[in-house]
Symmetry: C2
Subunit: 448 residues, 2 copies
């Protein structure tokens, strides 16, 4: 939790730096609000509440649909930069390493703004956060709903296959083309000629890994077939604009235009983002019969995703159009990575600065008086909650919880109106007049 | 949310000052973990998840039972000062002014400690929080499970009526005795002789409002009947100890021993607490036919409750005994009170310090460059997300969101390598060399 708190603080700080306002929505939504928003797979993972009378409710699956529902219910809110850090719920299988309850950190920009300006700010936000957390190299993949629509159209894929084809080609970052091809032809009954056409587009990067983002977009602009498709040309021109803004924001080197990115939530209408972390990974290769140790850079998983959803609000309130774009950070994976990097070692689980200690028996009330004095002065202090604790146990408590200072109350000291102040790490002690205690502690705490 | 954040910050700060460590538990629990823990009324308010395969789950009703379940599952944790700020869920009727989802802020102390030392610290904690929030006068009511058990025993109330009688006498802070009496005799079929005996004890304070806490406890110590009951004598002696510690902690004046307090969650075994806020209230009295305006001090409701629950952990793991005591703050009412006190007026909903503004068209990229510079330096900055926003709209945005400074980019300024810095409230402007911008802003922000 101490580590989580640190990560969430970095995220919150960044969201506020960009003018975000936080809004909280309930964990449950009316069931029909969530229905049909998360694709085939997603829909099965929604947690429903029992019908105990009253409305049929489900637990939120993400923070985006509740936000759109909020905008539909608060019609006067036409512009909003909103962030929300909260938990979402999915009936997933924990054995697959997925959580059923996990934090999402969302930043959404609602309102009619100009092309790709909000998108560029969102990509800057996610970059700032990942840099601040120092989790290593990352890649921001960008695609566009209209590029997907256009590619499918020129290949001759009917609209009703949109979701099915998306879910297959999106697997290209994990599966070889042959598997994806097989899934499309065999499981989803797409004609092999169609799949061959589609291959040209979605494997452009695989076929030529020297392609820059601009090369790739230029290819779509010039290719005989794609140059005639309006959707594709609109997507290309918008993504070029986005790249230009990303350059100004100093994040261009992390952005990759990726035509096979189709992590399509059903409601995306424009730019689509996915952010993956790249880790270094020691791999023993057995090529040529020799065991070669090599360090490879591999994707260690998606940590954020998002996109533009201009029509979601009007699904809840017809004719009320509030264009939105958002990014959602799946913070659990970041926790795990930071934990593995053993960033947790130097963290303290509690903030206590002083333990009020006594060496002799029957001094519980004296310890209480000192605690009260310290609490009255906003100093983080504790005492053993036993009437006659052992000195050794008390000092062990300091060591275990890395409490830096101990105030020692003793009979002799009481008579003389003094207290002993012990520096725990160095084990040095000093007598302090009781009346000077708070001042002395504040002085020392400043230097800790 | 800005107000909530402020309240939660005060609570967290206090919990940390007392050495609390935070632990998060999931919002759902196995259904059978929650069953039979919340009395007759409470049980009906538990939200169940649908049976969609897998375990039968419910949403947490409070944070205490999940904490005890956590202790039962983590057997090595025998001592813990834990805090948890999270939401809980009750299928209550929103029309009665109750929320179905609300925050609770809990501090619990687990471990075998000495009599009433942890209890005293908890009462100190709630006092610190209410004082820091400045929500007015409050009263900490204290009772003891053994006093209730003993009183019922000497009155001849069988154990099986414990819950039913508790739920009636606990209403004495809201209903007149006659109504409570009626409920006990008519609805719950308690013999009127028994109810008469009970009346003596639970109305001690009503009959003599000059009774001090010690007077009241002494009465139970000396009364012919109660002096012979071991449970009562144990409760009296423990509560005397608690009062002594409360005096040392400087909170005695807010504590009231109240034998009718029976806000009994089923699992309390020792001290029971309830904290109510007292508000002033203008009331028009029509006595004697005259309309008299008088200012009365009235209870405006319970804001915290708690108690000792020594057997809850072993309900989940037999023979594993971890004594616990905790307090739970219902923060929603505090939000409401602070809202009514219009503490919200001076709060800003967003933290943005600088708006990067342009007077002429076609300067979107220049504004972006300035934003990047400011974000790179951790300055909270925004720009209008339109390509060519109007100056008036941009300045209105500053006023609306209380953004104190604006950086103005113009063509002339670009040529000269300067920027205009505008102080929004005073409308004064100053030219700044572009290279000095960050330094100048940091200097000004320090004084804001």
């Amino acid at each position: 939790m101490a580590l989580r708190k640190k990560v969430l603080d970095v995220v919150t700080e960044c969201f506020k730096r960009h003018g975000g306002v936080t809004i909280d929505t309930p964990v449950f939504e009316l069931r029909n609000i969530l229905m049909g928003k998360y694709g085939e797979e997603g829909g099965k993972l929604i947690y429903d509440l029992s019908d105990q009378g009253g409305e049929l409710l489900s637990l939120r699956y993400d923070l985006t649909v509740p936000f759109a529902r909020y905008l539909a219910m608060n019609k006067t809110v036409m512009y909003l930069k909103r962030y929300h850090i909260g938990k979402v719920y999915r009936r997933d299988n924990p054995s697959r390493g997925r959580f059923r309850e996990f934090y999402q950190c969302d930043f959404d920009i609602a309102g009619s703004y100009d092309l790709m300006i909000p998108e560029a700010e969102l990509l800057r936000i996610i970059s700032e956060i990942l840099n601040a957390l120092d989790v290593g190299t990352f890649e921001i993949k960008v695609n566009h709903r209209l590029l997907l629509d256009g590619m499918f159209a020129v290949c001759g894929i009917p609209k009703k296959y949109f979701k099915a084809v998306c879910s297959s080609i999106d697997k290209l970052d994990k599966l070889p083309w042959e598997d994806v091809r097989n899934e499309l032809c065999t499981d989803k009954h797409i004609h092999s000629d169609v799949v061959n056409k589609l291959e040209t587009y979605v494997r452009l990067r695989e076929h030529d890994n020297s392609l820059t983002n601009f090369d790739l977009l230029n290819w779509f602009e010039k290719d005989e077939t794609t140059s005639k498709n309006n959707d594709i040309q609109k997507a290309v021109s918008e993504m070029k604009q986005l790249l230009e803004y990303c350059e100004i924001f100093g994040i261009l080197s992390t952005v990759t235009i990726e035509p096979s990115l189709a992590r399509g939530l059903d409601y995306y209408t424009g730019a689509i983002f996915e952010v993956t972390l790249k880790g270094t990974f020691e791999k023993t290769s057995m090529e040529n019969g020799n065991a070669d140790e090599e360090i490879q850079t591999v994707n260690i998983g998606s940590v954020a995703g998002g996109g533009r959803y201009d029509n979601l609000v009007s699904m809840f309130l017809p004719k009320h159009k509030v264009p939105c774009v958002g990014i959602s950070i799946g913070i659990e994976r970041l926790f795990t990575i930071m934990k593995e990097k053993s960033m947790i070692e130097h963290m303290r689980s509690k903030d206590t600065q002083i333990l009020v200690v006594s060496a002799q028996k029957k001094l519980v009330k004296e310890r209480m008086k000192i605690c009260r004095l310290l609490w009255d002065n906003n100093i983080k202090a504790e005492m053993a909650l036993k009437a006659n604790p052992k000195m050794l146990d008390q000092m062990q408590y300091c060591e275990e919880h890395k409490i830096p200072l101990a105030v020692i109350v003793g009979e002799r000291e009481l008579e003389e109106g003094i207290l002993k102040l012990r520096d725990v790490p160095s084990r040095t002690e000093q007598d302090i007049p009781r009346d000077d205690l708070v001042e002395e502690l504040n002085r020392r705490l400043k230097h800790l």
